[in-house]
């Protein structure tokens, strides 16, 4: 779970960079889903 939290945190930071770049917001679910997909990848 700690490892998943580290992946989730990093995915969130990367998403925030894209969000700033595209002037968009990402919902919490989207970041959580992207984190889970990345973990599985």
């Amino acid at each position: 779970q700690r490892l998943k939290a580290a992946v989730h945190y990093t995915a969130g930071c990367l998403c925030r960079e894209v969000a700033e770049d595209k002037k968009m917001e990402f919902s919490k679910q989207t970041i959580a889903a992207l984190s889970e997909i990345t973990f599985r990848q």
């Binding site: 990093t10 990367l14 002037k23 679910q29 990345t38």
Partner: protein, 74 residues
């Protein structure tokens, strides 16, 4: 922002059968960069889908729409 090599090393070792298997620094750095590219590409494609629908928030369904092709591209 980006994945730390140590985090990636830990992720990889979760699935190694032999606990003595090691991943050298270059492989860790390359794997970390691959995950950075993966997350940025997924986020950018989902954001583009939300923009195409004239929305300002990227929701889970925008990620779902691009997911099959994203997974085939990696």
């Amino acid at each position: 922002a980006g994945f730390r090599k140590e985090t990636v090393d830990r992720l990889l070792r979760l699935y190694f059968r032999d606990r003595r298997t090691r991943v050298n620094g270059d492989a860790q750095a390359l794997m970390a960069e691959m995950l950075n590219v993966f997350v940025r590409e997924a986020a950018a494609r989902a954001a583009r889908q939300a923009q195409a629908e004239d929305l300002e928030q990227v929701d889970i369904e925008h990620l779902e729409k691009v997911l099959p092709q994203l997974l085939l591209d990696f």
